[in-house]
Amino acid sequence: MSNERCDIAIVGAGPAGMSAAIAAARLGASVVVLDEQRGAGGQIYRAITDAPARRVDLLGPDYAAGRSLAEAFAASGARHLTNAAVWQVTPEGAVHYLRDGATFTLQAERVVLCAGAMERPFPIPGWTLPGVFTAGAAQILLKSADVVPVEPVVLAGCGPLLYLLGWQYVRAGVPIRALVDTTSMEDYRRALPRLGGALAGWRYLKKGLSLMRALKRAGVPFHTGAENLAAEGREGQDGVAALRFTAGGKAHCIETSTLLLHHGVVPNTQFTWSLRARHTWDDAQLCWRPKADAWGALDVPGIHVAGDGLGIGGALAAARQGELAALGAMHGLGRITTGERDKLAAPLRAALREHLRIRPFLDALYRPKKANRIPADDVIVCRCEEVAAGDIRHFVALGCDGPNQAKAFGRCGMGPCQGRQCGLTVTELIADARGVTPAEVGYYRIRPPIKPISLGELAGAE
């Protein structure tokens, strides 16, 4: 148990965390970056520092772009604590973490939370069956271990990650039985006006369309406007056997032993909720965002957030937000003047605006379908405690106004994942059942430990 001190502690070594560290270290701060993985990169650039050239080539240029960032980070002078699981961050800037079975505390003047995103829960019938993964999970297997499915897979849902994974699988020779897209023509009609005149937007759209074309050229069967998705098992077997859905007025059933689901990513807000920071409901992205100023500073003094944890903006936006948070933190410490801060920030803000310009279009086009967010009564919502949507509706009928009373009534969100897989669903379910907004319903009160810690490990902490 040590009590190390530093100017700036950064939680997470993805694009936001690495960029924040580089920027702060360049300005002379002592910086410690804590991350759960054994190498820098976060999920988007997972394993970038030791990926062989063949794999980097397979994953494509957006992944390869992480290498130079990781190299700059390694050379920045920031201290990188790998395999460090942060289980509590306090408003006073104490960062409690676990490493190799021992508990440590780092006392920082400023903390920048770069906890990134996680995949949005996709509660459909059968989503707990073995063989059902998120598309992100499949991509992590590819990025970190060169592991790919053997039998033809089914990709279902919507969003850039889903198509990117399909494209990567085609290049890797992985057979794809079908891409079941929940996006409908109506989504395109709604989204197109939001594309705006920005060149970046069109460039992005072109890139997306070329991914789709590559998939179609490879002969991947497409189903669009898919509804009523349900994963099915087979009697006497553990895993998923088929995906049922309707599309184009017809019922479909496609057999597969590996079903990959995705309909977007959402901010990982475990730390910001546990700090009791204020959050607002973002109706465009259908998620909570911590309330932060232009430097990512929360209403908890001394704590900043950068990257997708602020709202989904992607890796390039996250990197700029990381730098901005570093500037804000250094200014707060009195290490740079207001003039220096604003001068350094100006080009970052311009770049950030450009990176975020495509978001309204993407958010509208790939808005996850209500039925895939607020499921029917018999669908499991809380994977840990196996609480179904109908149970939550029953608690609402008993008078549960919000997730915390529902948690007390039915253990929903009390399992080891601490609500990560059910929180958004429960908020939206209760709002829907009560006929009020998610903002009015609120969210779980998140409590430490944010990462699993054993009683003995905690007993060893002071």
Binding site: Q88, T90, A94, H96, T103, T105, R276, F395, L398, G399, C400, D401, G402, P403, N404, Q405, A408, F409, G410, R411, M414, G415, P416, Q418, V441, G442, R445, R447, P448, P449, P452, I453, S454, L455, G456, L458, A459, G460, A461, E462
Partner: protein, 378 residues
């Protein structure tokens, strides 16, 4: 019209037990409850139906607690009959661990003093390390011994809260959520009770609003000087059946979850957790049962107890504004049976005007004497 026979301010364990007890006798009850983010002691407690050690220096409290523990099986049965929810009452006897010989001796003196005051009607055992280990083989060498009584037990407090809500509904209790009471005005024939959204009327009102009762009480001629007192608890993963008996530091719920706690802190309205206190609780847990060292923790919470200056409950009818009552305590689980079966009929007026036996000592007026200082070290 927003009228009923009785309005209960507060939808926690205390308020719903009162509402339930009144409604099952035919009283028309409305519960005004705060929102989802309220400080809610009912959602953060240890679930003990606990007798031993309570009432030191205040024998009526020892009797009152014993009475509730004895009535608890009827409460559990009635709730199950009304709602189908088994609140998992188990009363196998409980252990209070001591970690030094001095502590053990002090404990024995305390237990003996309570027992003497009850004229010996208080069966307890003092166990040294060896005899404790014979009963609980998993205890660690750091545990010097324990006190034990057969009267102690536990229930699932979350199932209890849900069962009380469901049972209230079953008996026609009306709930108004998100109704923080801002003002109570005595009117001819009753009370006008204001919330942000609506105004309610009833001839009788009971304050069961936990910490919120402090400000409301003077508006109806009552005195409830309650203060928050934080307890922190660690919650472990579910594990296979490990410990049937409740103990004051460690217990296992019917669902397999291990709970460890708790701390007593005067920290105001802060229900957070601190790494320092949590690690102290963890150390005590590992010393109690060394095998738990590898137990994975799922969460830690802090909750605010509702504490009076002397730590004992307040049960009082307003003499200035007849029809107004206040009920507050920090043992909402243990005392739930008394609240439903003894206090509720009194408040609802269905038991005549007589004050229930045994509560004369619990008037809030006992705190009006400014010369006295109080301690709640029980």
């Amino acid at each position: 019209m927003n009228t009923s026979d009785l309005i209960v301010v507060g939808g926690g364990l205390v308020g719903t037990a009162l509402a339930y007890g009144a409604a099952r006798n035919g009283t028309r009850v409305t519960v005004l409850d705060e929102g989802d983010d309220a400080f809610r002691a009912s959602r953060g407690n240890f679930g003990l139906v606990w007798v031993q050690g309570k009432g030191f220096g205040m024998t009526p409290y020892a009797r009152w607690t014993m009475q509730s523990a004895a009535q608890w099986p009827q409460l559990a049965e009635a709730l199950n009959a009304d709602t189908g929810i088994d609140v998992q009452l188990r009363q196998p006897g409980g252990f209070h661990f001591c970690f030094s010989d001095d502590e053990l001796q002090a404990r024995e003196a305390r237990m003996r003093s309570i027992g003497d005051a009850l004229d010996g009607d208080y069966a307890f055992e003092m166990l040294d390390h060896a005899s404790l280990k014979a009963r609980l083989p998993g205890v660690g060498p750091a545990v010097a011994g324990a006190s034990y009584t057969r009267m102690d037990g536990h229930a699932n407090p979350l199932k209890l809260l849900r069962a009380l809500h469901a049972a209230c509904r079953h008996h026609g209790v009306r709930f108004a959520q998100g109704s923080r009471v801002t003002r109570i005005t005595p009117r001819a024939g009753g009370f006008e009770i204001e919330t942000r959204a609506a105004t309610w009327h009833a001839p009788r009102v009971v304050l069961a609003a936990g910490l919120g009762s402090r400000e409301l009480a003077p508006q109806v001629g009552l005195h409830a000087p309650v203060q928050p007192n934080r307890g922190q608890v660690l919650v472990g993963e579910r594990v296979a059946r490990f410990l049937d008996h409740p103990t004051t530091y460690v217990r296992q719920t019917d669902e397999g979850t291990i709970q460890l706690g708790d701390s007593l802190e005067d920290v105001g309205l802060d229900d957070g957790t601190t790494a320092e206190v949590l690690s102290t609780i963890a150390r005590r847990g590992v010393r109690s049962f060394p095998v738990l060292e590898s137990l994975r923790l799922v969460r830690a919470w802090g909750a605010l107890r509702v504490m009076t200056p002397d730590g004992f409950p307040i049960y009082q009818a307003s003499t200035q504004c007849p029809g107004a009552f206040v009920v507050t305590c920090h043992s909402g689980v243990t005392l739930a049976a008394n609240h439903a079966f003894s206090i509720a009929p009194w408040i609802a007026g269905s038991a005549g005007n007589g004050v229930p036996a045994g509560i004369q000592s619990f008037s809030g007026d006992r705190f009006l004497n400014g010369n006295e200082t109080f301690h709640h070290a029980h």
